[in-house]
Amino acid sequence: MENYNVDENGYYGEFGGAFIPEMLYPNVEELRQNYLKIMAEPDFKAEFDKLLKDYVGRPSPLYFAKRLSKKYNTKIYLKREDLNHTGAHKINNTIGQILMAKRLGKHRIIAETGAGQHGVATATVCALMGLECIVYMGEIDIARQAPNVARMKMLGAKVVPALSGSRTLKDATNEAIRDWINNPVDTHYIIGSAIGPHPYPDMVTKFQAVISEEIKWQLKEQEGRENPDYVIACIGGGSNAAGTYYHYLHEKDVKIIAVEAAGLGVNSGESAATSVLGKEGIIHGCKTLLMQTNDGQITEPYSISAGLDYPGVGPMHAHLCKTGRAEFMAATDADAMNAGLDLCKLEGIIPAIETSHALAIFEHKTFKPDDVVVVSLSGRGDKDLNNYIDYFKI
Protein backbone atom coordinates (compact mmCIF):
# COMPACT_ATOMS: atom_id res chain seq x y z
CA MET A 1 0.00 0.00 0.00
CA GLU A 2 1.15 3.49 -0.80
CA ASN A 3 2.63 5.34 2.19
CA TYR A 4 0.94 8.70 2.74
CA ASN A 5 3.08 9.69 5.69
CA VAL A 6 6.46 11.31 5.48
CA ASP A 7 9.39 9.00 4.72
CA GLU A 8 12.71 9.00 6.53
CA ASN A 9 14.16 11.55 4.10
CA GLY A 10 11.36 14.02 4.65
CA TYR A 11 9.42 13.30 1.47
CA TYR A 12 5.84 12.41 0.66
CA GLY A 13 6.38 10.57 -2.59
CA GLU A 14 8.19 13.14 -4.70
CA PHE A 15 7.09 16.12 -2.57
CA GLY A 16 8.59 17.67 0.54
CA GLY A 17 12.27 17.79 1.48
CA ALA A 18 14.13 20.75 2.92
CA PHE A 19 15.17 23.29 0.28
CA ILE A 20 16.68 25.82 2.61
CA PRO A 21 19.65 28.18 2.55
CA GLU A 22 22.64 26.96 4.53
CA MET A 23 21.96 29.72 7.09
CA LEU A 24 18.84 27.82 8.21
CA TYR A 25 20.41 24.39 8.19
CA PRO A 26 21.48 24.23 11.87
CA ASN A 27 18.02 25.26 13.10
CA VAL A 28 16.07 22.96 10.85
CA GLU A 29 18.49 20.09 11.47
CA GLU A 30 18.24 20.57 15.25
CA LEU A 31 14.48 20.34 14.94
CA ARG A 32 14.63 17.35 12.61
CA GLN A 33 16.84 15.41 14.97
CA ASN A 34 14.74 16.16 18.03
CA TYR A 35 11.08 16.59 17.18
CA LEU A 36 10.01 12.95 17.24
CA LYS A 37 12.07 12.21 20.33
CA ILE A 38 10.59 15.19 22.19
CA MET A 39 7.04 14.41 21.07
CA ALA A 40 7.44 10.88 22.39
CA GLU A 41 8.59 11.98 25.86
CA PRO A 42 5.90 11.14 28.45
CA ASP A 43 6.12 14.53 30.16
CA PHE A 44 5.81 16.34 26.82
CA LYS A 45 2.73 14.33 25.95
CA ALA A 46 1.25 14.89 29.38
CA GLU A 47 1.79 18.65 29.22
CA PHE A 48 0.46 18.84 25.63
CA ASP A 49 -2.66 16.81 26.49
CA LYS A 50 -3.33 18.77 29.65
CA LEU A 51 -3.13 22.12 27.88
CA LEU A 52 -5.34 20.88 25.05
CA LYS A 53 -7.91 19.80 27.64
CA ASP A 54 -7.81 22.61 30.19
CA TYR A 55 -6.71 25.56 28.08
CA VAL A 56 -7.93 24.86 24.55
CA GLY A 57 -11.10 23.06 25.69
CA ARG A 58 -10.60 19.73 23.96
CA PRO A 59 -12.01 17.38 22.98
CA SER A 60 -13.94 19.53 20.57
CA PRO A 61 -17.45 18.16 20.00
CA LEU A 62 -18.33 15.99 17.04
CA TYR A 63 -21.78 17.34 16.34
CA PHE A 64 -24.43 15.63 14.23
CA ALA A 65 -25.86 18.44 12.12
CA LYS A 66 -29.45 17.33 11.89
CA ARG A 67 -31.00 20.05 9.76
CA LEU A 68 -28.02 20.30 7.41
CA SER A 69 -28.15 16.49 7.03
CA LYS A 70 -31.82 16.66 6.22
CA LYS A 71 -31.26 19.31 3.58
CA TYR A 72 -28.66 17.21 1.75
CA ASN A 73 -30.22 13.84 2.59
CA THR A 74 -27.10 12.34 4.14
CA LYS A 75 -25.52 12.13 7.62
CA ILE A 76 -23.27 15.11 8.27
CA TYR A 77 -21.11 15.44 11.35
CA LEU A 78 -19.25 18.66 12.13
CA LYS A 79 -15.95 18.48 13.98
CA ARG A 80 -16.18 21.66 16.02
CA GLU A 81 -12.66 23.10 15.92
CA ASP A 82 -14.36 26.50 15.94
CA LEU A 83 -15.07 25.98 19.63
CA ASN A 84 -11.38 25.85 20.54
CA HIS A 85 -9.84 28.72 22.45
CA THR A 86 -8.96 31.47 19.91
CA GLY A 87 -11.61 30.14 17.56
CA ALA A 88 -9.90 27.70 15.24
CA HIS A 89 -7.77 24.58 14.93
CA LYS A 90 -4.60 26.69 14.77
CA ILE A 91 -4.06 26.56 18.53
CA ASN A 92 -3.47 22.77 18.51
CA ASN A 93 -0.26 23.34 16.60
CA THR A 94 0.92 26.43 18.45
CA ILE A 95 0.54 24.68 21.82
CA GLY A 96 2.61 21.80 20.50
CA GLN A 97 5.27 24.01 18.99
CA ILE A 98 5.65 26.32 21.98
CA LEU A 99 6.30 23.28 24.18
CA MET A 100 8.79 22.07 21.55
CA ALA A 101 10.50 25.48 21.50
CA LYS A 102 10.85 25.48 25.28
CA ARG A 103 12.45 22.06 25.27
CA LEU A 104 14.87 23.22 22.58
CA GLY A 105 15.82 26.15 24.84
CA LYS A 106 14.45 28.87 22.55
CA HIS A 107 13.09 32.04 24.12
CA ARG A 108 12.16 34.13 21.12
CA ILE A 109 9.21 33.09 18.93
CA ILE A 110 8.43 34.24 15.41
CA ALA A 111 5.46 33.44 13.20
CA GLU A 112 3.83 34.43 9.94
CA THR A 113 0.15 35.10 9.57
CA GLY A 114 -2.29 35.80 6.77
CA ALA A 115 -5.73 36.47 8.19
CA GLY A 116 -4.26 36.67 11.66
CA GLN A 117 -5.64 33.41 13.11
CA HIS A 118 -2.26 31.72 13.37
CA GLY A 119 -0.75 35.00 14.62
CA VAL A 120 -3.34 35.19 17.37
CA ALA A 121 -2.84 31.51 18.25
CA THR A 122 0.92 32.08 18.45
CA ALA A 123 0.62 35.30 20.46
CA THR A 124 -1.70 33.44 22.81
CA VAL A 125 0.70 30.61 23.60
CA CYS A 126 3.61 33.06 23.93
CA ALA A 127 1.62 34.97 26.53
CA LEU A 128 0.84 31.68 28.22
CA MET A 129 4.52 30.76 28.41
CA GLY A 130 5.93 34.25 28.90
CA LEU A 131 7.99 34.22 25.69
CA GLU A 132 8.79 37.08 23.34
CA CYS A 133 6.60 36.96 20.21
CA ILE A 134 7.08 38.62 16.84
CA VAL A 135 4.46 38.10 14.14
CA TYR A 136 5.06 38.97 10.50
CA MET A 137 1.99 40.00 8.56
CA GLY A 138 1.63 41.45 5.08
CA GLU A 139 0.97 45.17 5.08
CA ILE A 140 -2.20 44.62 3.05
CA ASP A 141 -3.46 41.95 5.47
CA ILE A 142 -2.78 44.25 8.43
CA ALA A 143 -5.12 46.76 6.89
CA ARG A 144 -7.90 44.27 6.17
CA GLN A 145 -7.67 42.26 9.42
CA ALA A 146 -7.50 45.06 12.00
CA PRO A 147 -9.28 43.20 14.85
CA ASN A 148 -6.78 40.34 14.76
CA VAL A 149 -3.89 42.82 14.73
CA ALA A 150 -5.36 44.40 17.86
CA ARG A 151 -5.77 40.96 19.46
CA MET A 152 -2.13 40.09 18.86
CA LYS A 153 -1.02 43.40 20.34
CA MET A 154 -3.22 42.93 23.41
CA LEU A 155 -1.61 39.52 23.86
CA GLY A 156 1.80 41.17 23.95
CA ALA A 157 3.05 40.32 20.47
CA LYS A 158 4.91 42.67 18.19
CA VAL A 159 3.29 42.76 14.76
CA VAL A 160 5.77 43.57 11.99
CA PRO A 161 4.43 44.53 8.55
CA ALA A 162 5.87 42.64 5.58
CA LEU A 163 6.52 45.36 3.03
CA SER A 164 8.09 43.24 0.29
CA GLY A 165 6.54 41.60 -2.77
CA SER A 166 2.76 41.44 -2.74
CA ARG A 167 2.64 42.28 1.00
CA THR A 168 0.43 39.29 1.89
CA LEU A 169 0.88 35.82 3.42
CA LYS A 170 3.69 34.54 1.21
CA ASP A 171 5.70 37.67 1.87
CA ALA A 172 5.02 37.48 5.60
CA THR A 173 6.42 33.94 5.42
CA ASN A 174 9.51 35.22 3.57
CA GLU A 175 10.02 37.87 6.26
CA ALA A 176 9.70 35.31 9.05
CA ILE A 177 12.27 33.11 7.32
CA ARG A 178 14.59 36.12 6.96
CA ASP A 179 14.17 36.88 10.65
CA TRP A 180 15.13 33.28 11.44
CA ILE A 181 18.23 33.57 9.25
CA ASN A 182 19.22 36.70 11.17
CA ASN A 183 18.54 35.11 14.59
CA PRO A 184 19.90 31.60 14.27
CA VAL A 185 20.46 30.70 17.91
CA ASP A 186 17.68 31.75 20.28
CA THR A 187 14.65 31.77 17.96
CA HIS A 188 12.01 29.20 17.06
CA TYR A 189 9.82 29.75 14.04
CA ILE A 190 6.26 28.49 14.57
CA ILE A 191 5.00 27.77 11.07
CA GLY A 192 1.21 27.75 11.08
CA SER A 193 0.44 25.39 8.25
CA ALA A 194 1.55 21.98 7.00
CA ILE A 195 4.17 23.63 4.81
CA GLY A 196 7.84 24.58 4.99
CA PRO A 197 10.98 22.46 5.08
CA HIS A 198 10.92 18.99 6.61
CA PRO A 199 10.19 18.35 9.49
CA TYR A 200 7.59 21.14 9.65
CA PRO A 201 4.84 19.55 7.53
CA ASP A 202 5.08 16.35 9.55
CA MET A 203 5.35 18.09 12.92
CA VAL A 204 2.37 20.35 12.24
CA THR A 205 0.38 17.37 10.97
CA LYS A 206 1.16 15.36 14.09
CA PHE A 207 0.09 18.21 16.39
CA GLN A 208 -3.13 18.61 14.40
CA ALA A 209 -3.71 14.84 14.31
CA VAL A 210 -5.63 15.16 17.57
CA ILE A 211 -8.57 16.15 15.36
CA SER A 212 -8.91 12.76 13.65
CA GLU A 213 -7.87 10.92 16.81
CA GLU A 214 -10.94 12.36 18.51
CA ILE A 215 -13.21 11.84 15.51
CA LYS A 216 -12.47 8.11 15.72
CA TRP A 217 -13.73 7.55 19.24
CA GLN A 218 -16.45 10.17 18.99
CA LEU A 219 -17.88 8.55 15.89
CA LYS A 220 -17.63 5.15 17.53
CA GLU A 221 -19.78 6.48 20.37
CA GLN A 222 -22.38 7.96 18.06
CA GLU A 223 -22.40 5.67 15.03
CA GLY A 224 -20.87 2.51 16.42
CA ARG A 225 -17.94 2.71 13.99
CA GLU A 226 -14.67 4.62 13.93
CA ASN A 227 -14.53 5.21 10.20
CA PRO A 228 -16.83 7.58 8.36
CA ASP A 229 -17.42 7.20 4.62
CA TYR A 230 -15.96 10.64 3.97
CA VAL A 231 -13.73 13.17 5.71
CA ILE A 232 -13.84 16.65 4.25
CA ALA A 233 -11.75 19.73 4.96
CA CYS A 234 -10.93 23.03 3.34
CA ILE A 235 -7.33 23.46 2.28
CA GLY A 236 -4.97 26.39 1.91
CA GLY A 237 -1.56 25.28 3.21
CA GLY A 238 -3.50 22.41 4.70
CA SER A 239 -3.06 22.12 8.47
CA ASN A 240 -6.68 21.47 9.46
CA ALA A 241 -7.00 19.08 6.53
CA ALA A 242 -3.83 17.24 7.55
CA GLY A 243 -5.13 16.80 11.10
CA THR A 244 -8.57 15.73 9.92
CA TYR A 245 -7.19 13.12 7.52
CA TYR A 246 -4.22 11.87 9.52
CA HIS A 247 -5.67 8.80 11.22
CA TYR A 248 -7.65 7.92 8.09
CA LEU A 249 -4.88 8.18 5.51
CA HIS A 250 -4.38 4.43 5.40
CA GLU A 251 -8.02 3.44 5.99
CA LYS A 252 -9.04 2.53 2.46
CA ASP A 253 -12.76 2.66 3.11
CA VAL A 254 -12.59 6.31 4.17
CA LYS A 255 -12.76 8.69 1.22
CA ILE A 256 -10.88 11.95 1.57
CA ILE A 257 -12.06 15.23 0.05
CA ALA A 258 -10.01 18.43 0.00
CA VAL A 259 -11.73 21.68 -0.90
CA GLU A 260 -9.66 24.50 -2.34
CA ALA A 261 -10.65 28.11 -2.85
CA ALA A 262 -11.65 28.75 -6.46
CA GLY A 263 -11.96 32.50 -5.85
CA LEU A 264 -13.92 33.97 -8.73
CA GLY A 265 -13.66 30.64 -10.60
CA VAL A 266 -10.82 28.18 -11.09
CA ASN A 267 -9.90 29.57 -14.49
CA SER A 268 -10.83 33.20 -13.85
CA GLY A 269 -7.28 34.31 -13.11
CA GLU A 270 -8.46 35.13 -9.58
CA SER A 271 -8.21 31.81 -7.79
CA ALA A 272 -6.27 29.82 -5.22
CA ALA A 273 -6.99 26.33 -6.56
CA THR A 274 -3.39 25.13 -6.36
CA SER A 275 -4.04 21.50 -7.29
CA VAL A 276 -5.44 22.59 -10.65
CA LEU A 277 -3.38 25.70 -11.35
CA GLY A 278 -0.14 24.71 -9.67
CA LYS A 279 2.91 22.94 -10.98
CA GLU A 280 5.65 21.17 -9.10
CA GLY A 281 8.15 23.63 -7.66
CA ILE A 282 9.88 24.94 -4.55
CA ILE A 283 8.24 27.33 -2.12
CA HIS A 284 9.27 28.22 1.43
CA GLY A 285 11.64 25.28 1.70
CA CYS A 286 9.64 22.41 0.24
CA LYS A 287 8.92 20.83 -3.09
CA THR A 288 5.20 20.84 -3.71
CA LEU A 289 2.50 22.05 -6.08
CA LEU A 290 2.53 25.82 -6.37
CA MET A 291 1.09 28.56 -8.50
CA GLN A 292 3.79 30.13 -10.61
CA THR A 293 4.61 31.61 -13.99
CA ASN A 294 6.26 29.53 -16.71
CA ASP A 295 9.47 31.23 -15.61
CA GLY A 296 9.17 29.90 -12.06
CA GLN A 297 8.14 33.15 -10.39
CA ILE A 298 5.59 32.54 -7.66
CA THR A 299 2.24 34.19 -8.33
CA GLU A 300 -0.29 35.73 -6.01
CA PRO A 301 -3.45 33.70 -5.50
CA TYR A 302 -6.86 35.15 -4.77
CA SER A 303 -9.67 34.07 -2.50
CA ILE A 304 -12.23 35.97 -0.45
CA SER A 305 -10.86 33.94 2.44
CA ALA A 306 -7.52 35.22 3.70
CA GLY A 307 -6.71 31.80 5.17
CA LEU A 308 -6.84 29.98 1.83
CA ASP A 309 -5.00 32.36 -0.47
CA TYR A 310 -1.61 30.67 -0.29
CA PRO A 311 0.08 29.91 -3.63
CA GLY A 312 1.21 26.45 -2.53
CA VAL A 313 -0.22 23.47 -0.71
CA GLY A 314 1.45 21.27 1.92
CA PRO A 315 3.60 18.48 0.43
CA MET A 316 1.50 15.76 2.05
CA HIS A 317 -1.53 17.10 0.21
CA ALA A 318 0.35 17.41 -3.07
CA HIS A 319 1.08 13.68 -2.70
CA LEU A 320 -2.55 12.87 -1.81
CA CYS A 321 -3.61 14.75 -4.93
CA LYS A 322 -1.05 13.19 -7.25
CA THR A 323 -1.77 9.65 -6.07
CA GLY A 324 -5.53 10.19 -6.20
CA ARG A 325 -5.89 9.27 -2.52
CA ALA A 326 -7.79 12.50 -1.97
CA GLU A 327 -10.38 14.00 -4.25
CA PHE A 328 -9.66 17.70 -4.76
CA MET A 329 -12.63 19.98 -5.31
CA ALA A 330 -12.91 23.74 -5.45
CA ALA A 331 -15.51 26.20 -4.16
CA THR A 332 -15.87 29.76 -5.41
CA ASP A 333 -16.25 32.82 -3.22
CA ALA A 334 -19.99 32.79 -3.93
CA ASP A 335 -20.36 29.05 -3.19
CA ALA A 336 -18.57 29.51 0.11
CA MET A 337 -20.38 32.64 1.25
CA ASN A 338 -23.76 31.07 0.58
CA ALA A 339 -22.81 27.83 2.32
CA GLY A 340 -21.61 29.85 5.31
CA LEU A 341 -24.85 31.76 5.60
CA ASP A 342 -26.77 28.54 5.16
CA LEU A 343 -25.01 26.98 8.15
CA CYS A 344 -25.92 30.04 10.27
CA LYS A 345 -29.59 29.62 9.44
CA LEU A 346 -29.76 25.82 9.65
CA GLU A 347 -27.52 25.07 12.60
CA GLY A 348 -26.94 28.32 14.45
CA ILE A 349 -23.22 28.23 13.72
CA ILE A 350 -21.35 31.09 12.05
CA PRO A 351 -18.38 29.46 10.30
CA ALA A 352 -15.12 31.03 9.19
CA ILE A 353 -15.13 31.71 5.45
CA GLU A 354 -12.30 29.18 5.05
CA THR A 355 -14.54 26.53 6.59
CA SER A 356 -17.48 27.59 4.44
CA HIS A 357 -15.55 26.35 1.41
CA ALA A 358 -15.69 22.80 2.80
CA LEU A 359 -19.43 23.14 3.43
CA ALA A 360 -20.00 24.41 -0.10
CA ILE A 361 -19.38 21.04 -1.73
CA PHE A 362 -22.74 19.66 -0.62
CA GLU A 363 -24.24 21.72 -3.43
CA HIS A 364 -21.94 20.04 -5.94
CA LYS A 365 -21.61 16.47 -4.78
CA THR A 366 -24.37 14.06 -3.87
CA PHE A 367 -23.94 11.68 -0.97
CA LYS A 368 -25.98 8.60 -0.18
CA PRO A 369 -28.58 8.86 2.61
CA ASP A 370 -26.66 6.47 4.85
CA ASP A 371 -23.22 7.93 4.13
CA VAL A 372 -21.48 9.25 7.24
CA VAL A 373 -19.72 12.45 6.24
CA VAL A 374 -17.43 14.27 8.69
CA VAL A 375 -16.60 17.89 7.91
CA SER A 376 -13.87 19.75 9.76
CA LEU A 377 -15.46 22.95 11.02
CA SER A 378 -12.03 24.50 11.25
CA GLY A 379 -12.87 27.96 12.55
CA ARG A 380 -15.55 30.35 13.67
CA GLY A 381 -16.72 33.31 11.65
CA ASP A 382 -16.40 36.18 14.13
CA LYS A 383 -13.27 37.39 12.39
CA ASP A 384 -15.17 37.43 9.07
CA LEU A 385 -18.20 39.44 10.13
CA ASN A 386 -17.17 42.44 8.07
CA ASN A 387 -16.77 40.26 5.00
CA TYR A 388 -20.19 38.67 5.54
CA ILE A 389 -21.72 42.12 6.16
CA ASP A 390 -20.21 43.58 2.99
CA TYR A 391 -21.02 40.54 0.87
CA PHE A 392 -24.66 40.12 1.87
CA LYS A 393 -25.29 43.83 2.62
CA ILE A 394 -26.52 42.77 6.06
Partner: protein, 255 residues
Amino acid sequence: MNRIQTKLQDNKKLLSIYFTAGYPSINDTVSIIKDLETNGVDMIEIGLPFSDPLADGPTIQASSTQALKNGMTTELLFEQLKDIRASVNIPLIIMGYFNPMFQYGVEAFCKKCKEVGVDGLIIPDLPVDVYHKEYQAIFEKYGLINVFLITPQTSDERIKYIDSISNGFIYMVSSASTTGAQSGFGETQTKYFKRIGDMKLKNPQVIGFGISNNETFTQATTYAKGAIIGSAFVKHITNNGPKSIKNFVDKILNK
Protein backbone atom coordinates in the same frame (compact mmCIF):
# COMPACT_ATOMS: atom_id res chain seq x y z
CA MET B 1 40.20 24.10 -16.47
CA ASN B 2 37.16 26.15 -15.58
CA ARG B 3 37.71 29.94 -15.53
CA ILE B 4 36.85 30.04 -11.83
CA GLN B 5 39.56 27.52 -10.99
CA THR B 6 42.09 29.39 -13.11
CA LYS B 7 41.24 32.70 -11.49
CA LEU B 8 41.59 31.22 -8.01
CA GLN B 9 45.22 30.43 -8.85
CA ASP B 10 46.04 34.09 -9.47
CA ASN B 11 48.50 35.40 -6.96
CA LYS B 12 46.20 38.14 -5.69
CA LYS B 13 43.14 38.74 -3.55
CA LEU B 14 39.97 38.56 -5.60
CA LEU B 15 37.17 41.08 -5.75
CA SER B 16 33.87 39.61 -6.82
CA ILE B 17 30.77 41.70 -7.43
CA TYR B 18 27.11 40.68 -7.41
CA PHE B 19 24.46 42.53 -9.34
CA THR B 20 20.88 41.73 -10.33
CA ALA B 21 20.36 41.03 -14.03
CA GLY B 22 17.92 43.42 -15.69
CA TYR B 23 18.42 46.13 -13.08
CA PRO B 24 18.18 49.10 -12.99
CA SER B 25 17.09 48.78 -16.63
CA ILE B 26 16.39 45.63 -18.55
CA ASN B 27 19.31 46.13 -20.93
CA ASP B 28 21.95 47.07 -18.35
CA THR B 29 23.09 43.47 -17.80
CA VAL B 30 25.85 43.28 -20.41
CA SER B 31 27.23 46.79 -19.97
CA ILE B 32 27.49 46.27 -16.20
CA ILE B 33 29.46 43.06 -16.73
CA LYS B 34 31.81 44.78 -19.18
CA ASP B 35 32.34 47.81 -16.94
CA LEU B 36 33.05 45.61 -13.94
CA GLU B 37 35.76 43.73 -15.84
CA THR B 38 37.27 46.89 -17.31
CA ASN B 39 37.58 48.39 -13.86
CA GLY B 40 39.45 45.48 -12.36
CA VAL B 41 36.83 43.22 -10.86
CA ASP B 42 37.97 39.58 -10.82
CA MET B 43 34.71 37.65 -10.85
CA ILE B 44 31.00 38.43 -11.27
CA GLU B 45 27.84 36.98 -9.79
CA ILE B 46 24.91 37.67 -12.06
CA GLY B 47 21.73 37.59 -10.02
CA LEU B 48 18.81 35.81 -11.68
CA PRO B 49 15.86 37.62 -10.10
CA PHE B 50 13.23 35.67 -8.13
CA SER B 51 9.85 36.69 -6.75
CA ASP B 52 10.61 35.34 -3.27
CA PRO B 53 14.31 35.77 -2.49
CA LEU B 54 14.24 34.59 1.11
CA ALA B 55 17.95 34.86 1.87
CA ASP B 56 18.11 38.46 0.69
CA GLY B 57 17.69 41.73 2.54
CA PRO B 58 15.72 44.75 1.30
CA THR B 59 18.30 46.08 -1.21
CA ILE B 60 18.57 42.93 -3.32
CA GLN B 61 14.86 42.15 -2.87
CA ALA B 62 13.98 45.55 -4.31
CA SER B 63 16.37 45.12 -7.24
CA SER B 64 14.87 41.68 -7.98
CA THR B 65 11.33 43.00 -7.86
CA GLN B 66 12.28 45.83 -10.22
CA ALA B 67 14.14 43.50 -12.59
CA LEU B 68 11.07 41.25 -12.83
CA LYS B 69 8.89 44.30 -13.46
CA ASN B 70 11.34 45.28 -16.19
CA GLY B 71 10.58 41.94 -17.83
CA MET B 72 13.61 39.89 -16.86
CA THR B 73 13.30 36.14 -17.47
CA THR B 74 15.66 33.19 -17.53
CA GLU B 75 15.43 32.95 -21.31
CA LEU B 76 16.11 36.66 -21.72
CA LEU B 77 19.18 36.48 -19.49
CA PHE B 78 20.68 33.74 -21.65
CA GLU B 79 19.80 35.80 -24.73
CA GLN B 80 21.60 38.84 -23.27
CA LEU B 81 24.65 36.75 -22.42
CA LYS B 82 24.92 34.93 -25.74
CA ASP B 83 27.86 36.99 -27.05
CA ILE B 84 29.40 37.87 -23.71
CA ARG B 85 32.48 35.70 -24.22
CA ALA B 86 33.45 37.72 -27.27
CA SER B 87 34.52 40.51 -24.94
CA VAL B 88 34.58 39.33 -21.31
CA ASN B 89 37.18 36.95 -19.90
CA ILE B 90 36.64 36.90 -16.14
CA PRO B 91 34.60 34.12 -14.49
CA LEU B 92 30.84 34.57 -14.56
CA ILE B 93 28.58 32.91 -12.02
CA ILE B 94 24.80 32.91 -12.03
CA MET B 95 23.36 33.34 -8.56
CA GLY B 96 19.71 32.61 -8.10
CA TYR B 97 17.07 30.58 -6.34
CA PHE B 98 16.28 27.06 -7.35
CA ASN B 99 12.67 27.31 -8.54
CA PRO B 100 13.28 29.28 -11.77
CA MET B 101 16.09 26.85 -12.68
CA PHE B 102 13.89 23.89 -11.80
CA GLN B 103 11.12 25.21 -14.08
CA TYR B 104 13.57 25.83 -16.91
CA GLY B 105 14.78 22.27 -16.42
CA VAL B 106 18.02 21.76 -14.55
CA GLU B 107 19.77 20.06 -17.45
CA ALA B 108 18.54 22.61 -20.01
CA PHE B 109 19.67 25.39 -17.66
CA CYS B 110 23.15 23.89 -17.25
CA LYS B 111 23.45 23.34 -20.99
CA LYS B 112 22.60 26.99 -21.66
CA CYS B 113 25.12 28.12 -19.06
CA LYS B 114 27.84 26.22 -20.85
CA GLU B 115 26.75 27.54 -24.25
CA VAL B 116 26.94 31.20 -23.25
CA GLY B 117 30.06 30.78 -21.14
CA VAL B 118 28.80 30.88 -17.57
CA ASP B 119 31.29 29.09 -15.32
CA GLY B 120 29.41 28.37 -12.16
CA LEU B 121 26.28 28.68 -10.08
CA ILE B 122 25.35 29.75 -6.58
CA ILE B 123 21.92 28.49 -5.54
CA PRO B 124 21.29 29.31 -1.89
CA ASP B 125 18.21 27.12 -1.52
CA LEU B 126 19.55 24.01 -3.22
CA PRO B 127 21.00 22.04 -0.30
CA VAL B 128 24.30 20.28 -0.78
CA ASP B 129 22.87 16.80 -0.19
CA VAL B 130 20.11 17.21 -2.81
CA TYR B 131 22.69 18.59 -5.24
CA HIS B 132 25.01 15.68 -4.58
CA LYS B 133 22.29 13.07 -5.03
CA GLU B 134 20.30 14.50 -7.92
CA TYR B 135 22.22 17.14 -9.84
CA GLN B 136 25.97 16.92 -9.43
CA ALA B 137 26.39 14.64 -12.44
CA ILE B 138 24.52 17.13 -14.65
CA PHE B 139 26.58 20.10 -13.44
CA GLU B 140 29.78 18.18 -14.08
CA LYS B 141 28.65 17.09 -17.53
CA TYR B 142 28.50 20.77 -18.50
CA GLY B 143 31.67 21.74 -16.67
CA LEU B 144 29.89 23.95 -14.17
CA ILE B 145 31.11 24.67 -10.70
CA ASN B 146 28.50 24.83 -7.97
CA VAL B 147 29.42 27.02 -5.04
CA PHE B 148 28.11 26.31 -1.53
CA LEU B 149 27.67 28.60 1.43
CA ILE B 150 28.90 28.08 4.96
CA THR B 151 28.01 30.23 7.97
CA PRO B 152 29.40 30.72 11.49
CA GLN B 153 26.85 28.13 12.63
CA THR B 154 27.92 25.45 10.15
CA SER B 155 29.53 22.54 12.00
CA ASP B 156 33.10 21.48 11.19
CA GLU B 157 31.83 18.11 10.06
CA ARG B 158 29.44 19.71 7.58
CA ILE B 159 32.10 22.15 6.36
CA LYS B 160 34.34 19.17 5.58
CA TYR B 161 31.47 17.52 3.72
CA ILE B 162 30.79 20.69 1.73
CA ASP B 163 34.51 21.00 1.00
CA SER B 164 34.54 17.44 -0.31
CA ILE B 165 31.67 18.15 -2.74
CA SER B 166 33.07 21.52 -3.90
CA ASN B 167 35.56 22.04 -6.68
CA GLY B 168 35.85 25.82 -6.90
CA PHE B 169 35.60 27.94 -3.80
CA ILE B 170 33.56 28.01 -0.63
CA TYR B 171 31.31 31.01 -0.10
CA MET B 172 31.89 31.97 3.49
CA VAL B 173 28.93 33.98 4.79
CA SER B 174 30.45 36.40 7.29
CA SER B 175 27.66 36.31 9.83
CA ALA B 176 24.25 34.75 10.23
CA SER B 177 22.16 37.18 8.26
CA THR B 178 20.35 37.96 5.08
CA THR B 179 22.26 39.99 2.49
CA GLY B 180 23.01 43.61 3.25
CA ALA B 181 22.23 43.35 6.95
CA GLN B 182 25.71 43.83 8.40
CA SER B 183 28.40 46.42 8.13
CA GLY B 184 31.88 45.83 9.45
CA PHE B 185 33.43 42.87 11.16
CA GLY B 186 33.95 42.38 14.87
CA GLU B 187 35.91 39.90 16.89
CA THR B 188 33.29 37.16 16.42
CA GLN B 189 33.76 37.30 12.66
CA THR B 190 37.54 37.40 12.66
CA LYS B 191 37.63 34.43 15.04
CA TYR B 192 35.35 32.54 12.66
CA PHE B 193 37.47 33.50 9.64
CA LYS B 194 40.56 32.22 11.47
CA ARG B 195 38.84 29.01 12.53
CA ILE B 196 37.92 28.20 8.93
CA GLY B 197 41.39 29.19 7.70
CA ASP B 198 42.92 26.77 10.20
CA MET B 199 40.82 23.91 8.82
CA LYS B 200 43.08 23.83 5.74
CA LEU B 201 40.24 23.04 3.35
CA LYS B 202 41.02 21.94 -0.19
CA ASN B 203 38.90 24.75 -1.65
CA PRO B 204 39.82 28.39 -1.08
CA GLN B 205 37.27 30.58 0.68
CA VAL B 206 35.67 33.76 -0.52
CA ILE B 207 33.89 35.87 2.07
CA GLY B 208 30.55 37.48 1.40
CA PHE B 209 27.84 39.42 3.29
CA GLY B 210 28.88 42.57 5.17
CA ILE B 211 31.52 43.86 2.77
CA SER B 212 30.87 47.37 1.56
CA ASN B 213 34.10 49.41 1.45
CA ASN B 214 37.90 49.22 1.30
CA GLU B 215 38.19 48.58 5.03
CA THR B 216 35.89 45.54 5.09
CA PHE B 217 37.31 44.27 1.79
CA THR B 218 40.84 44.44 3.21
CA GLN B 219 39.75 42.80 6.45
CA ALA B 220 38.00 39.95 4.64
CA THR B 221 40.85 39.28 2.25
CA THR B 222 43.30 39.10 5.14
CA TYR B 223 41.62 35.82 5.98
CA ALA B 224 40.37 34.59 2.63
CA LYS B 225 41.21 34.38 -1.05
CA GLY B 226 38.64 36.97 -1.95
CA ALA B 227 35.51 38.84 -1.09
CA ILE B 228 32.08 39.30 -2.64
CA ILE B 229 30.16 42.56 -2.57
CA GLY B 230 26.46 42.51 -3.36
CA SER B 231 24.08 44.86 -1.59
CA ALA B 232 26.58 47.74 -1.38
CA PHE B 233 27.10 47.61 -5.14
CA VAL B 234 23.38 47.34 -5.91
CA LYS B 235 22.78 50.30 -3.60
CA HIS B 236 25.52 52.23 -5.37
CA ILE B 237 24.04 51.79 -8.84
CA THR B 238 20.57 52.48 -7.48
CA ASN B 239 21.80 55.85 -6.23
CA ASN B 240 24.36 56.71 -8.90
CA GLY B 241 23.28 54.82 -11.99
CA PRO B 242 25.04 51.99 -13.79
CA LYS B 243 27.60 54.35 -15.38
CA SER B 244 29.27 54.98 -12.02
CA ILE B 245 30.95 51.59 -11.67
CA LYS B 246 34.54 52.87 -11.87
CA ASN B 247 33.95 55.16 -8.96
CA PHE B 248 32.65 52.25 -6.80
CA VAL B 249 35.37 49.75 -7.69
CA ASP B 250 38.16 52.33 -7.27
CA LYS B 251 36.96 53.07 -3.76
CA ILE B 252 36.87 49.39 -2.81
CA LEU B 253 40.37 48.78 -4.18
CA ASN B 254 41.60 52.14 -2.85
CA LYS B 255 42.84 53.16 -6.29
